[in-house]
Symmetry: C2
Subunit: 105 residues, 2 copies
């Protein structure tokens, strides 16, 4: 890739890091890598985040196509969050940064 | 790792993504992965960035221990920027996110 190809790509990559750098976002992705979770399950795992902020973070991740929200027609109705393929592959890539952090931070 | 171990780590990881998400930071790391560069060389490769901002970005990366600034006692004196081991390994980890971005963005 030439620098002219690389620059627009890195501009997009910056936005991803900006999102992932927001409080709790990377951890949410990390937790969802394991398996889909309900809102209440996510909140049990990360009680430090307010429900309002958790809702906002999930919405941001959904808008970027990284997670999907599925309403499961049971009684009572269940809402489940899971990573899309795009989100799962990002989560795996972020795993390399997490390993780096375990070594260096 | 338990969630109690993971949370402080992810808090640190967020700061890394916050830094990498700043305009031009990831590209600077990417360029330095190839080989050490002088300030003027970096500015030639990324003329879109002002010299003032390039200086600020390099200082931020240096403060995080990701790059080092070496003054080479030649005539005229040369200042060269290179990645530390910590910075190189982060750059390699970020490469996985770049590959993800090439596929998905």
């Amino acid at each position: 890739m030439t620098m002219d190809d690389v620059k627009p790509l890195f501009s997009k990559v910056e936005h991803v890091h900006h999102l992932i750098g927001k409080k709790w976002v990377n951890l949410i992705v990390h937790v969802l890598l394991e398996e889909p979770k309900r809102f209440s399950e996510l909140h049990t795992i990360i009680p430090e985040i307010s429900k309002r902020m958790l809702g906002e973070r999930l919405k941001e991740l959904e808008e970027c196509g990284l997670i999907r929200r599925a309403v499961i027609p049971e009684r009572p109705v269940r809402t489940e969050y899971s990573l899309t393929d795009k989100g799962r592959e990002l989560g795996e890539a972020l795993g390399h940064v997490e390993l780096w952090a375990m070594k260096w931070l």
